[in-house]
């Protein structure tokens, strides 16, 4: 349906899955029914889900990792929509996606886009098979939303670079293999110039990974100290000095996907699973109905972004718009479900729902922070509305 009036304002075209995309959906559902039957285990919450290298390998064997990457590096040369189909099924089941998540979503994509032939040959097959885990080395103690303030420094030496600095809040660095690291390589007048991305082996000499306990006591975050770490020229990702623009492109991969409205879905599904027959009254029905309508419309918006990417578009502002609203919705659901219940949630409860609720209450504030805070996203989206 053509809307003739809102020219120039953020645009989302309605789309739907094709027959072959629906067939892929059925295939993924069948696989997950077998691997992770509903109610049989503790689901993970979004990309906070547990890391399970074995599970990631199985996905890789199915061709469901690195789906958009070139075939000659082990990828599937499939579309953003096909990747969307696989991702939403994994997240709605609370699948253990922690091991491959970052590599599959963004590191593989930036290496494919900016990397050398040797880097692609070295890293991408491992991304596609579910073997390699990547971390994102962006944040530092004094560089959060303001990434141009990074101080980790790479200094030119014979045959490469020596890196010194500290990255913080680095998810999964203790278990992953590599970290795409934003470093300062030049002190320029322009703060956005002089930044470079390096691929750092997390087991290299001079790399120390220290845990930073997450709010719920789990080990997810790390401090990564880089002390005279030698990085060969062959591990510079893209061009020296182009780290900022590459990084911006990388963040676009991080926004607008189904992970931005499904993180707390397993909590609500488990609420429904545990409810005694006949126990859910009108108030619960209204809450569940409203939540379902919201998932439905956010899914349609997110799917529309994937379709736009496949058509060659760059819906950066649209993705920011959806991420901002989706991440707030994920949190609102927790308030909504608690308003239906007379409980004081305890992590030691016998109820899996209550355990998940506790985990979600504690971790959900991160949803509106990681990958761009609400405030940054509002500012990105507002650029699409400027006249």
């Amino acid at each position: 349906m053509a809307v003739v009036h809102n020219r120039g304002i953020l645009r989302f075209a309605a789309t739907e899955l094709t027959t072959s995309e629906l067939a892929l959906q059925a295939e993924v559902r069948e696989f997950l029914d077998h691997e992770l039957p509903g109610g049989s285990r503790r689901p993970g919450l979004g990309f906070n889900a547990p890391a399970d290298r074995e599970f990631s390998r199985k996905l890789g064997a199915r061709g469901w990792l690195g789906m958009a990457l070139p075939k000659r590096y082990g990828g599937g040369e499939r579309t953003a929509v096909e990747r969307f189909v696989v991702t939403e099924e994994l997240l709605s089941r609370g699948a253990p996606v922690g091991h491959h998540w970052v590599a599959d979503r963004q590191s593989g994509a930036v290496i494919a886009r900016f990397g050398t032939e040797e880097q692609k040959t070295t890293f991408l097959p491992g991304v596609c098979s579910g073997e390699l885990g990547f971390s994102i080395g962006m944040s530092e103690p004094d560089a959060g939303s303001d990434l141009a303030a990074v101080r980790t420094r790479a200094t030119r030496v014979d045959g490469g670079w020596t890196v010194n600095g500290t990255k913080v809040w680095t998810t999964g660095a203790h278990r992953n293999d590599f970290m795409v690291t934003l470093c300062r390589t030049d002190d320029s007048e322009d703060r956005h110039a002089g930044l470079t991305q390096l691929i750092i082996d997390l087991r290299a000499d001079g790399v120390t990974v220290n845990p930073i306990p997450f709010i719920d006591g789990t080990h997810d975050f790390n401090e990564v100290v880089l002390d005279d770490v030698f990085i060969a020229d062959s591990r510079v990702l893209g061009d020296v000095g182009q780290g900022w623009s590459q990084n911006t492109a990388e963040l676009a991969f991080e926004r607008g996907g189904p992970d931005r409205y499904l993180s707390t879905y397993p909590v609500i599904e488990q609420f429904l699973r545990e409810a005694a027959p006949g126990s859910l009254g009108a108030e619960s029905a209204r809450f569940l109905g409203h939540a379902t309508a919201t998932w439905w419309v956010l899914r349609n918006l997110s799917l529309s972004i994937a379709r736009a990417i496949d058509a060659g578009g760059s819906p950066v502002q649209e993705a920011a718009l959806v991420k901002e609203i989706g991440t707030r919705f994920e949190q609102d659901l927790l308030l909504g479900v608690q308003s239906l219940l007379d409980i004081e949630p305890s992590p030691e409860s016998q109820s899996l729902f209550e355990q998940l609720l506790c985990e979600a209450i504690l971790t959900a504030p991160s949803n509106t922070i990681r990958g761009g805070t609400t405030e940054i996203l509002l500012s990105v989206a507002a650029k699409g509305l400027a006249r």
Binding site: M1, A2, V3, V4, H5, N6, I9, L10, F12, A14, E16, Q25, G38, G39, E88, E89, S92, Y265, I268, E269, Q270, L272, R273, A275, L280, A282, S284, A285, R286, F287, L288, G289, H290, T292, A293, T294, W295, W296, V297, L298, R299, N300, L301, S304, E318, L321, V322, E324, I325, E375, L378, S379, A381, A382, G384, L385, A386, R387
Partner: protein, 348 residues
């Protein structure tokens, strides 16, 4: 350009030309605008999506829903949905001819008590849009579609929050000018669903316009030496309106698409639920961004926001969110995600 796009363009041009601030003000004062009705009738808009053999203009339901989107954008102060998609549909689906005059209808709600004894209609129907200015009221009552002449009814004037007529009619053994057993697929549920879908489309158009006028206003309005759109706090309002416009638009697009295919209960329920929330958030942010100017009747915003507040409640008596929730509960945990992805399908 396809036929739908040509129609959209022609309708957009007509409404832009005819629906001026003065026309909107006059229509609110008088409860009607005859010149505007003549203009939309000449273009055949009330009959779009209705079969030609019953007096319609042909075209698809999708076409007429698209016209309603544009009507919502312009705050069209006339019973376009009632004459065409609702009243015209009730008549033509039950084999009755559609008169070439303005019609109105509304689904019965709690407190209404129309009854049909096979020959005459008796009882009260409230919230009938523009009843006082329509030639006929079409009603679905006790399994029959009846066409009542306004002159046979007692009409008590009432309005909605937007100042549009939402009259009460009282029938005392009124003999219809035409009637028939309700056609296949015509019942209270399907009328409510269609009514809700008309409001979804009107609301999506209106919220898109609210975004448009707020973006313009905040760019033009200067305070503290710069356009207020330069302030982050104001930008946040703009983004929140844009989000709700995207949500309402997408909801309307998907609901209309599925309705045209024949199975859209879930989509219409969900779209009406989302448009209601979108209206609440977008109108609040838009008024905040407009300041005192938006609180006046001189400025266009109130034509949109007051209608949005009215449309939010219309065809909402059933509580669509609760209906979705009942389906969710019935299907259980394993059925939830498939419901979100597949929607109504033929089975809902």
């Amino acid at each position: 350009m396809n036929n739908g796009a040509l129609l959209d363009q022609a309708v957009g041009e007509l409404f832009s030309r005819e629906i001026t601030p003065g026309v909107l003000a006059d229509a609110e004062r008088d409860g009607w605008s005859q010149p505007l009705w003549s203009a939309i009738s000449e273009m055949g808009l009330p009959g779009v999506g209705l079969p030609e053999e019953h007096g319609g203009q042909g075209g698809s339901v999708a076409d007429s829903l698209a016209v309603l989107r544009i009507a919502g954008w312009h705050a069209l102060p006339l019973p376009l949905a009632e004459t065409g998609l609702l009243g015209g549909w009730l008549l033509s689906s039950s084999g009755l001819p559609i008169p070439a005059t303005p019609l109105t209808t509304v689904a019965q709600r709690d407190g209404d008590d129309l009854s049909w004894d096979g020959a005459t209609v008796t009882g009260v129907l409230r919230g009938v849009p523009w009843a006082r200015h329509c030639s006929h009221v079409v009603a679905l009552v006790d399994g029959a579609v009846v066409q009542l002449s306004r002159d046979e009814l007692t009409v008590t004037a009432a309005t909605n929050l937007a100042g549009e007529p939402r009259d009460t009619i009282v029938c005392d053994h009124v003999t219809p000018v035409a009637w028939a057993a309700a056609g296949v697929g015509v019942d209270l549920e399907s009328l409510r669903l269609r009514g809700a879908l008309t409001r979804v489309c009107l609301m999506a158009g209106a919220i898109e316009r609210v975004l448009d006028v707020t973006v313009r206003h905040t760019d033009e309005r200067r305070q503290f030496g710069k356009p207020i759109a330069r302030f982050q706090a104001v930008q946040a309002h703009l983004v929140h309106i844009a989000q709700q416009a995207a949500i309402a638009s997408m909801a309307a697009d998907v609901a209309a698409r599925e309705y045209a295919r024949g199975h859209a209960a879930f989509e219409v329920w969900a779209a009406k639920t989302m448009c209601g929330e979108a209206a609440r958030i977008a109108t609040r942010a838009a008024h905040q961004a407009h300041g005192a100017m938006g609180m006046t009747q001189e400025y266009v915003l109130h034509h949109l926001t007051r209608r949005l507040w009215s449309w939010t409640r219309e065809y909402e008596d059933i509580g669509w969110a609760r209906r979705i929730g009942d389906v969710v509960i019935e299907r259980g945990a394993d059925g939830l995600y498939p419901l979100i992805t597949a929607g109504s399908g033929p089975r809902l």
